[in-house]
């Protein structure tokens, strides 16, 4: 009885897979293992690489503003311990009389070439900075300025699948 039913079922012709499936499976089987990384992982790898590069650039630009908008910080120069007031004491120096330090930094992050170092894909970035410091002592009418150009090369690894 079962056999009759199974025979009836087996007699029904089945829909066949297309030739394109065979071709795509053949291609899969012929590909080298490295090329078969799931596309989602490839996208993930690229995303991580792009995110790393982007975060580096953002971090760089946040820490060092571009050349057109210098970062300026002004702070009073550390004071020497004030002398003990004498008897019948005179008024001490006012806030505006204190020497101040003004620092300005211009910076720019310039993307460089890609290179392979020790089998690892790397991209270089050149961080160009100009530091300008100024000390002003209004009380004694003294002003000192110092300008220091700095160039730093940064390397970041790229994930290339």
């Amino acid at each position: 009885m079962s056999t009759d039913l199974e025979t009836l079922l087996k007699r029904q012709p089945l829909r066949a897979p297309s030739r394109s499936l065979d071709r795509s499976v053949e291609r899969l089987l012929a590909q080298p293992p490295a090329a078969q990384t799931d596309w989602r992982w490839r996208v993930f790898g690229w995303s991580v690489g792009v995110a790393m590069a982007a975060s580096l650039i953002i971090a760089g630009s946040m820490a060092f503003a571009p050349l057109t908008t210098p970062v300026t910080s002004t702070s009073p120069v550390a004071q020497r311990p004030a002398p003990a007031p004498s008897q019948g004491g005179l008024a001490s120096a006012t806030e505006s009389d204190r020497p101040i330090e003004i620092e300005e930094v211009w910076s720019e992050l310039v993307p460089g070439e890609m290179a392979e170092i020790g089998g690892q894909a790397m991209r270089s970035y050149e961080l160009q900075q100009v530091q300008h410091k100024r000390w002003v002592d209004p009380k004694n009418n003294v002003q000192i300025e110092m300008t220091v150009p700095v160039s730093t090369t940064l390397l970041t690894s790229l994930i290339i699948d």
Binding site: M1, L5, L8, Q12, P13, L14, P17, V25, L29, Q36
Partner: protein, 164 residues
């Protein structure tokens, strides 16, 4: 693993496709599921434990189930696992009308089986797997698979009692 896969695909391509099609009811989606499963298996650097053919069937079934969960190609017209649906016009001139009616009944009865039973019938009848292989592919005990198959046949027999 590649050679093993190639051999299994060559031998079971029809069975794998029928299984995937019986789950997804769409030929394109079924082929996608097979492609996805083979691609996953190609990335394995070792041969699977147990029966390799059952392992491939399990991979294809999982890929098809994943696709169905994702709602890939929501079926407007559910496609059948059988070649060309029969109609009264399909009968060959020399073939008695009764034959195509019988075939239509059989096909409908198979398509109407519950999912799990239909998968077991497909793997047993159309992919020619043993109960041990089916049990491994479904990750279920042999006795469960065997009794499910017998229940499926009983249901089919009820529907086709005039034929068998």
């Amino acid at each position: 693993m590649r050679q093993l896969l190639e051999g299994i695909y060559t031998e079971h391509r029809q069975g794998l496709f029928t299984l995937a099609l019986s789950i997804l009811r769409n030929a394109d989606a079924a082929e996608d599921a097979i492609h996805e499963a083979i691609a996953r298996l190609c990335r394995m650097d070792h041969n699977p434990a147990g029966d390799a053919a059952a392992y491939v069937f399990a991979a294809v079934r999982n890929a098809a189930m994943d696709q169905r969960r994702r709602g890939a190609r929501a079926a407007g017209n559910a496609e059948t696992i059988f070649e060309n649906s029969l109609s009264s016009h399909d009968a060959a001139p020399d073939q008695p009308m009764e034959q195509s009616d019988q075939d239509r009944l059989i096909r409908r009865a198979v398509e109407e089986l519950p999912d799990e039973s239909r998968q077991v019938v497909v793997m047993k009848i159309y992919a020619c797997l043993t109960f041990e292989q089916i049990a491994q592919a479904l990750n279920e005990p042999l006795s469960t698979v065997s009794s499910r198959y017998q229940r499926a046949l009983s249901k089919l027999r009820e529907k086709l009692e005039t034929l068998v």
